[in-house]
Symmetry: C2
DNA sequence: GCGTGTGAAATGCTTCACAGCG
DNA sequence: CGCTGTGAAGCATTTCACACGC
């Protein structure tokens, strides 16, 4: 019986890491499952199951030792030497992402950005160098990039995705509002702003559409 | 037995709508479940279940009539007269969202943006008027806004969320990298770029962490 | 006690498989 | 026949509940 490595669990583990950093900043060196559960809005049992999977060899008296957990999470989530990530599509959203990730931790670094518009090539935005699409293969290869964020217009997304897959990319974070068809072995995660907003709007309706309540 | 109105179903229905617009642009007036399934990367049974829930009274011979489906979806997802939405936090990401939604359909309109920085008040970005935080309550009230996108720094998110809830907001699309604690009755959807990127990076690893294969 | 680790039950979501209709 | 609509089966994920260690 495989010990549960689903996408949902991975997401939560990434969240635990951020929470644990806060906890450590508060000077605590242990947390127990209910505390994490409360912060994340879940149940203690769930937290324990998730943490179980990363085999944290911890005592049991007063919760999990924060540093040990952080180490285990890094071992689970991160590449040993960090990882380079690329962005394709330097529009409004692409620039916002560059800004956002330029200040994040050392593990995932956005080190190359690409755009169809050759005029952007050569510039440096938020510490990240820009290239034209013709350099795609070369740069991905040189920087050993396996993971790409894609913020191109809907009409170009499929074509770009195929090109990326051809360059050996194994994971795509797709912000374009279209489902991608990629070869097997390539993981695609989609962030669809329109769908997300429509969902929130749906569940903010006063009545008739209200969410199902228990009993 | 409640007919399934889960968040997942609502997301897919929103996606079907977009696909159906494409289909109609191609001149077709009927689609069958496999066609939709293929486009969305799911199964035909799933599509049929989803569509069932919006009670599409359609014949059965050659699939669903596109126009009828679109009408039913609009009835299901949209407010009758459209809906105003606000943005709080006019940073890089906030501006990108304004640009993005300024060209979307008529149902959800971003009609007000707020920022702590009073210097931004009075400006108009991508067709959307900006206000200082002190006008929050008044403007939300005047425009009957129930749904808000939040792109504020992590440290301010909780405070802003509470203020929003106090103004009668019922749904928040939260881009800040913190879980929100809100009163019951307020729906929160989170888009967490860091978590999303870490997830993709995780599943792009060559081996050892590979996703579970069947058999 | 207080909190972890974990089988076992419960819940929720997806897929199967087939009746029924045009 | 092809395709929809749908009970029922099959999986996945979450929660319960309790043994065990400090």
């Amino acid at each position: 019986m495989p010990p549960r490595k689903s996408a949902l669990t991975v997401e939560r583990i990434s969240q635990y890491r951020r929470l644990l950093h806060d906890v450590r900043r508060d000077g605590l060196d242990h947390v127990c499952s209910h505390q994490l559960a409360e912060k994340i809005g879940g149940t203690a049992a769930q937290v324990r199951r998730d943490l179980m999977l990363l085999g944290c060899a911890c005592g049991s008296r007063i919760g999990y030792p924060v540093d040990c957990l952080l180490a285990k999470i890094a071992e689970f989530l991160d590449s040993p030497k960090g990882e380079n990530v690329a962005l394709v599509g330097i529009g409004n959203l692409g620039r916002a992402l560059l800004a956002f990730f330029s200040m994040s931790g050392p593990n995932l670094r956005v080190t190359a950005a690409f755009d169809r518009d050759a005029a952007k090539a050569g510039r440096v935005l938020y510490g990240c160098r820009c290239y034209g699409m013709e350099d795609l293969e070369k740069v991905l290869e040189t920087q050993s990039i396996r993971t790409v964020m894609m913020t191109v217009p809907a009409g170009e997304a499929q074509g770009v995705a195929e090109k990326l897959a051809g360059c050996g990319v194994r994971g795509i974070l797709n912000f374009a509002p279209v489902p991608l068809r990629v070869p097997p072995g390539v993981f695609v995660e989609r962030i669809d702003m329109t769908v997300a907003l429509e969902k929130v709007a749906f569940f903010s309706r006063p009545a008739g559409n209200e969410e199902r309540d228990k009993v």
